[in-house]
Amino acid sequence: MVGVLAAYSWDFSLVPNYLAFWMKGLGVTLAYSAGTILGGMIVGVICGMLLLSRSRWVTLPVHYYVEIFRCTPLLVQIVWFYFALPIVLQVELPDWFAAGLGLTLYMGAFATEIFRGGIISIDKGQWQASRALGMTWPEMMRHIILPQAVKRMTPPFVNQSIIQLKNTSLLYVVAIPDLMYTGSIIVSDTFRPLEVYTVVAIAYFIILYPLTLWAARLEARVDQ
């Protein structure tokens, strides 16, 4: 067995032949990352705001939404939204859309918690001082609470976005031609899984490593 491993001769020469494929896969990964992160943040801001409501009729559904997405595996969510939802709703969703829906709502659930956490972390004194000056709720949010909260939310948002970019690789189960799926296609063409998946891993690393460095810097700045 050891002998077999030692005898494996690495050959990356085939990899560049698929450059156009790789680029397309990279583009799909980045597009799904950007799209689902942005969509998830919009969902998060809306649901996070709703969680601030005093009415349980408003907060309870949001609470269940968040918990359902936090307590089920993302892979299951992607598959469910892709295959089951169109049947449940009796509608035909475009494949690219159905594939991204699970990911978006998953991001949305975490973004909701980040948003709510950022808002409620602001000292009670800030709320009462704003109210005492005569600010309405929107004035207080816009000028006093959000500017301080956004600063605190940014590092966890960036961290969640990094995780989200990696999670797009799960889209390969519903045949979205992202970096990961592209890799699997090239493997079936070349029979060189070790080389191809190594390249896939390196590609993710090259995109994400600078982002994690940036996130660490952001976090240090907020802590000051």
């Binding site: 004194g125 800030q126 001082a129 109210r131 005492a132 000056l133 005569g134 709720w137 006093i144």
Partner: protein
Amino acid sequence: MVQVDGLRKSYGTVEAVRGVSLEVDRGEVVVVIGPSGCGKSTLLRCLNLLEQPSAGTLRIGERLIDFGAGSLPRGRELARFRARIGMVFQQFDLFPHFTVLRNVMAGPVIVKKMAEPEAEGIARDLLAKVGLADFTARYPRELSGGQQQRVAIARAMAMQPELMLFDEVTSALDPELVGEVLDVMKQLAIEGTTMIVVTHEMAFARDVANRVVVMDAGQVVEQGAAEEVLLAPKNPRTASFLSRFHSTIERKN
């Protein structure tokens, strides 16, 4: 100017304010004293509706609110009501992301939608008055507690309120910083600002208050001219509370 009648506030089963009636005339300085937990801070917070009283009536200026019945102000109406009452808190609660100048401009610009140059003029005048003309570009965290509290007073005054509420504004300060804040308040009193002051500073009560109100267990137990109440209390509970402060009250007389 201010008329409170039978005001009550309860939290669950605990009644913090149990039927307080109080009148404050324009330009009057009323100091509210009493042991901690007697409901004096809660009373103050009820006056600008930071707390929603459970019963009673409140009249400020010509605006009358009956908490027993009818619709309480909400949203924009509630905000407008508060805009006419200034409040200063124990912990200053300045806006940390604004400079000192911006803090004082916040009310006029955000609430009154005043043009920036005009608001800046008001803010600079007020900061000069509280002795912080050179600190306009600083951030709150760069200031001492006493300086922050003076900014907070200027911030509240920038709204040109009809009434100023002070909630134990020197309690969080180092002893050597208390004087500078009290001096600013004294100045406001001399200029005829209507003020309700919750404090443990008995010397301030003696020197500045037109009237002292003593609270205990959620009720007003005694009130009257500062000298009378502080030096010759009629109520035994007042007397026992004040006995702890006698050295402060009698000194300097």
